[in-house]
Amino acid sequence: MNILVYFEERNGQVRKPSLEAVSAAKALGASMINAVIVGSNTSAALSDAVKTSGVSKIFTVDHAWFSEYSSKAAAKAVAEVAKSSGAEVVIVPATGRGKDIAPRVAVRLGAGYVPDVTAFAANGGSIHATHPVYAGKANVQVEVTTPVKVFSTRPNLWAAPKDASAVASIEAATGSLTDMDFADRTKELALSQGKLDVAEADIIVTGGRGMKGPEHWGLIEGLATSMHAATGASRAVVDAGWRPHSEQVGQTGKTVSPSLYVAVGVSGAIQHLAGMSSSKTIVAINKDANAPIFAVADYGIVGDAFEVLPALTEAVSKIKSH
């Protein structure tokens, strides 16, 4: 099986979810894995780690106009490389940008597409891809029925490849991109400084209505800092305007699967549980012993968050300093 992986570049670096996608491709039993990267100066992103990520060849598509990234143009470039390299499967990381280009690539290739895949299983000659639905309340196993298949893979679920010895060859791909393809152009990427994003974090500390007000969020942030975690918020908290919606976890927020999820003062409405119950370890801190959050928790403390949080922050800091 010939698999093409999309290497997403940001600020001169290939992002980790792309390298994880190489591991997903390996798990699929690929006989050949190539990668494609698009940009205005792609050579900058070809670090040693990228070159030894286990792919045979990295196709680079350079176009001056990619100094303003375009998902429309990127999709066209990726589809062209997929065709010319004979890819039977295209894997794109399910990132903000990846989720835009993967469906476009699928349409261009006449391929079926499964988004946000969390697991693959080979079934004879076909591939069954697992895709969570209803924000994780259920999973569907999907078979793509077209000869060429496109998948996007959820970040954080496959390990980035390590210790690959072979160095990929680099090949400049000449696509048929024209300025007309850049009908959408990214003028600016504004990142919030030093803050971990809830969608990508390995540990998340989420506050709920039990925190009583935005003025108490320092307690959530304190625990998050001690754990190197991102902060999340329940829907009630976001709707009340205490926290921005970009932090919302749940069915109309982000679906997350970190290795540790700490829910503080979160009762555990069904919409919230849907978004976080695939977390590996779940911790609940709540005054109400009957709160539904405890039903999905691995560990918990029944107690007042205002007393437990400072104590827990201190206890975690102590462990971390050893």
Binding site: Y69, K72, T95, G96, D100, P103, V107, R108, A111, G112, Y113, P115, D116, H131, P132, V133, Y134, A135, K137, A138, N139, V140, Q141, V142, E143, T145, A183, D184, R185, T186, E188, L189, A190, L191, S192, K195, D197, A199, M227, H245, S246, T252, L260, I270, S277, I282, A284, F294, A297, D298, G300, I301, G303, E307, L312, E314, A315, V316, K318, I319
Partner: protein
């Protein structure tokens, strides 16, 4: 402006999902359906564009007769009319194709929709529709401004926002935060019943994917719950120890 909003009718967020007897779908018994919450932001944005620039807002949906309920909610918010594409939805590609076939014929200035439907969570329709119509698109959009034949949006990405300029016509998929959707007033709910919904009979193209099975994730939880009972520090240090030594997550 000629504004189109694609909407879908989905199970309410409070729905407990049970798998139907066929093992491939949810059991619809007792499930309440609502207008997809992300589509509400799209409808609201469309109404604001109309209020500012004049024009007309048309809601479009693919599905059976029951899809009209979601469309009526959009009409009650203030949309002018609807188009129901009557067809069996088999997968996201088939829905995007059916929408594209209709939307190619209408001279839209802008097409809005929610960033995803909260049932299949695929985020596929907007980019597929864009590709089928050869249009620029932006998804996960939290602000939109239109000026001189171009749209400028902010898109949420990991760790921040991207500012994207789109040539018009274009497709914009709404994220929560774009606006605060209005509640339909009672008179508007009554009026919405009289607004026209045109029906288009269509045949979906062959599906490119097939659900093999659906199941519910089951996970055994450790379930060690400590009682603070006036000794928060003790419980906290025991929890930290368990997370460090037993779960090995910190």
């Amino acid at each position: 402006m000629n504004i189109f909003v694609c909407v879908s009718h989905v199970p309410d967020t409070t729905t407990k999902v049970n798998v139907a007897g066929d093992g491939k779908n949810i059991d619809p018994a007792g499930v309440k359906f609502i207008l997809n919450p992300y589509d509400e932001f799209a409808v609201e944005e469309a109404l604001r564009l109309k209020e500012k620039n004049g024009g007309e807002v048309t809601v479009v949906s693919v599905g059976a007769e029951s899809s009209k309920e979601g469309m009526r909610q959009a009409l009650a918010m203030g949309a002018d009319k609807g188009i129901l594409i009557k067809a069996d939805k088999s997968d996201a590609f088939s829905v995007a194709s059916l929408l594209a076939d209709t939307l190619k014929t209408v001279n839209a200035d802008i097409i809005l929709l929610g960033k995803q439907s909260i049932d299949f969570d695929g985020m596929e329709i907007a980019p597929m529709l864009a590709e089928l119509m050869d249009l620029p698109a932006a998804t996960v959009v939290v602000s939109l401004a239109i000026d001189g034949g171009k749209a400028t949006v902010e898109k949420e990405v990991e760790g921040g926002k991207e500012k994207i300029e789109l040539a018009m016509p274009c497709i914009v998929a709404a994220q929560k935060g774009l606006n605060e959707p209005r509640y339909p007033s009672l008179p508007n709910i009554m009026k919405a019943k009289q607004k026209p919904i045109q029906e288009v009979a269509a045949t979906a193209p062959a599906a490119r994917t097939a659900v093999v099975k659906m199941d519910k994730p089951e996970k055994k939880r450790v379930g060690k719950i400590l009682q603070a009972d006036g000794n928060a520090a003790g419980a906290a240090s025991e929890l930290a120890r368990l997370l460090h030594e037993e779960a090995k997550v910190i």
